[in-house]
């Protein structure tokens, strides 16, 4: 549904997107992750036909974004980062206007339908200017969903929403992602983790990693890290654990818990447990610490900035 190859975009002398290539299939939710200024918004703007790329090509819903921009725009729903809305308009009128531009039949009914989907039906007659940020975000989302787009491009869709709305919107995106293609950008990593089938980590206009969230974790960890907690004082716990062969990176945390790691593949947890109990401790917790997307992200984007 989305196929991008060699996409490059320059703003004057600054290269915002550099030779970007990726694709997204139907029924897939793809997350775009990266620090501010990484080129996420620029890429999305190119894919929605807002601006042409300097080089490379992008096919969205079967059409080229430069050559057949109008066809692309008919099939894409877009929620821009800043959620631009006509603040002097009433919510319903605004959505109706956008629907008329997209030639939606029975536009009034469809507007009611999407307002219901985003939970804004009771504010339909209010002015957009009087809405809170979260509500504007939902109106923007309603606008993106209006024409049942084949491809949905959402730039930071849950920003500014309160926690319960975040859950609702994610639910909605997951639902839509079952049949259509969703490309969303975020810098909330656990959102990408529990929403996206696949994650693209982008930094300085380049893709630094692309995989499913599980694979990304597995690929980057290489070692498994475990936390051990015991009852009472545990001054010599670290030494006790060090005695087990294969254990490395032993570290005592400020709260008394001890972390250690071992090469992935040979699980040393039973040995460590035996050793801890043999030494007379009451074992409370022995838990593997999966590497979070945060750490992967920092590793990938941070090491890059160190090199420069």
């Amino acid at each position: 549904m989305i196929k991008v190859s060699g996409l490059t975009k320059d703003y004057g002398a600054r290269r915002a997107v550099h030779n970007l290539s990726f694709d997204a299939q139907q029924g897939e939710v793809v997350g775009f992750l990266g620090p501010n200024g990484a080129g996420k918004t620029t890429t999305m703007r190119i894919l929605t036909g807002y601006m042409p790329p300097t080089d490379g090509e992008a096919i969205v819903a079967g059409y080229d974004v430069v050559e057949e921009s109008l066809e692309v725009r008919k099939r894409v729903g877009y929620l821009p980062e800043t959620v631009p809305l006509y603040t002097e308009m009433v919510v319903f009128d605004y959505l109706k206007f956008m629907g008329e531009l997209r030639h939606i039949p029975n536009v009034d009914d469809r507007v009611d339908e999407v307002l219901d989907m985003v939970g804004m039906i009771e504010r339909a007659t209010g002015y957009i200017g009087n809405l809170s940020k979260g509500m504007r975000q939902r109106v923007g989302l309603a606008q993106a969903l209006l024409h049942r787009p084949e491809v949905l491009i959402l730039d930071e869709p849950t920003i500014g929403l309160d926690p319960s709305q975040v859950v609702e919107v994610r639910e909605l995106i997951r639902e839509i992602g079952k049949e259509r293609t969703v490309l969303l950008s975020t810098h909330i990593l656990h959102e990408a983790q529990n929403l996206c089938d696949r994650v693209l980590i982008i930094n300085k206009g380049k893709i630094v990693a692309e995989d499913t969230t599980e694979n990304l974790q597995a690929r980057l960890i290489g070692a498994e890290r475990v936390i051990v907690r015991v009852r009472g004082e545990a001054d010599e716990l670290a030494d006790t654990i060090k005695q087990v062969k294969g254990v490395r990176g032993v570290e005592t945390k400020s709260d008394g818990a001890v972390e250690f790691e071992f090469a992935s593949g040979k699980d040393l947890r039973p040995e460590v447990a035996k050793q801890v109990i043999k030494s007379g401790y009451d074992l409370l917790e022995l838990r593997p610490l999966g590497m979070s997307l945060e750490e992967i992200f920092l590793e990938l984007t941070g090491s890059d900035s160190k090199r420069n």
């Binding site: 703003y11 703007r45 929605t48 036909g49 807002y50 601006m51 042409p52 109008l70 725009r73 008919k74 894409v76 877009y78 821009p80 800043t82 631009p84 809305l85 006509y86 603040t87 002097e88 308009m89 206007f97 956008m98 008329e100 531009l101 997209r102 030639h103 606008q143």
Partner: protein
């Protein structure tokens, strides 16, 4: 065409959401009403001494004259504000052509001015009741054709300039400066020049209206002039939007 109409309709409704449109309407209709009363009063005085038939076309001239100063206020925010508010991103990712967006904005402003022009029709109608055997409706028709054509040109140029700026005041003064130049200044050197004076006169906004259309002479040259300016304005607007995309 349908998209142009959708945008024009929203823009027209939008005028009534802001005080600006009411201020502009007031600033046009009040002087027009006073001027009309004066014309009627003076004509009534002169009629006693065998004066001529009153004319309502000076009212249309005043309408156009006021539009030179007030139409920039109607067009200044049409596209500049979209760029400033970010809603341009919404329009440029909707399935509409850049030209449709620009033309829709122009048509919206045009509809507003046409509504005002429609209100001024009461002046010739009232006048007709006081004059025997009635006023010359052909002159009135020609005058209104001129008024619509010149407003069309002014609004198109205003929309075009509005697309260039992201600041509405920059758009306002840019437009006002251009109109001032085209109305008052461009014809000035014509009489001092050995040759080429006709060209400058031809480019002047005012001569096409006051010297022909408003006195009942519809010429192809005048119509072409105003339609060309309209096309130019819409072209500048569309190009400015396209340049925005490439930046």
């Amino acid at each position: 065409m349908r998209n142009i109409w959708t945008i024009a309709k929203r823009e027209y409704d939008n005028y009534f959401n802001s005080p600006l449109a009411y201020v502009v309407a007031f600033a046009i209709l009040l002087p027009l009403g006073i001027y009309f009363s004066l014309i009627m009063w003076v004509s009534a005085q002169q009629a006693m001494y065998g004066g001529g038939v009153p004319e309502s076309t000076p009212i249309n001239w005043l309408f156009v004259f006021l539009m030179i100063f007030l139409s920039p206020a109607l067009t200044m925010r049409l596209l500049s504000d979209e760029a400033r508010m970010g809603t341009l991103e919404l329009m440029l990712t909707a399935p509409i052509r850049d030209f449709e967006l620009v033309a829709g904005k122009w048509l919206g402003a045009m509809l507003f001015v046409l509504s005002l022009a429609l209100l001024t029709l009461i002046y010739p109608i009232i006048m007709n009741n006081f004059v025997s055997p009635g006023i010359d409706w052909n002159v009135i028709l020609s005058s209104y054709i001129g008024l619509i054509l010149i407003c069309s040109a002014l609004l198109a140029l205003g929309v075009g300039i509005s697309a260039v700026f992201t600041n509405q005041f920059a758009a306002f003064f840019g437009t006002l400066g251009l109109f001032f130049f085209l109305w008052f200044m461009i014809g000035l050197p014509a009489s001092y020049l050995q040759a080429g004076g006709e060209v400058l006169n031809y480019l002047s906004l005012s001569t096409h209206f006051s010297q022909t259309l408003n006195i009942g002479t519809v010429t192809l040259g005048d119509i072409t002039y105003y339609l060309s300016l309209t096309a130019l304005g819409l072209f500048v607007g569309t190009t400015a939007i396209e340049i925005r995309r490439w930046r």
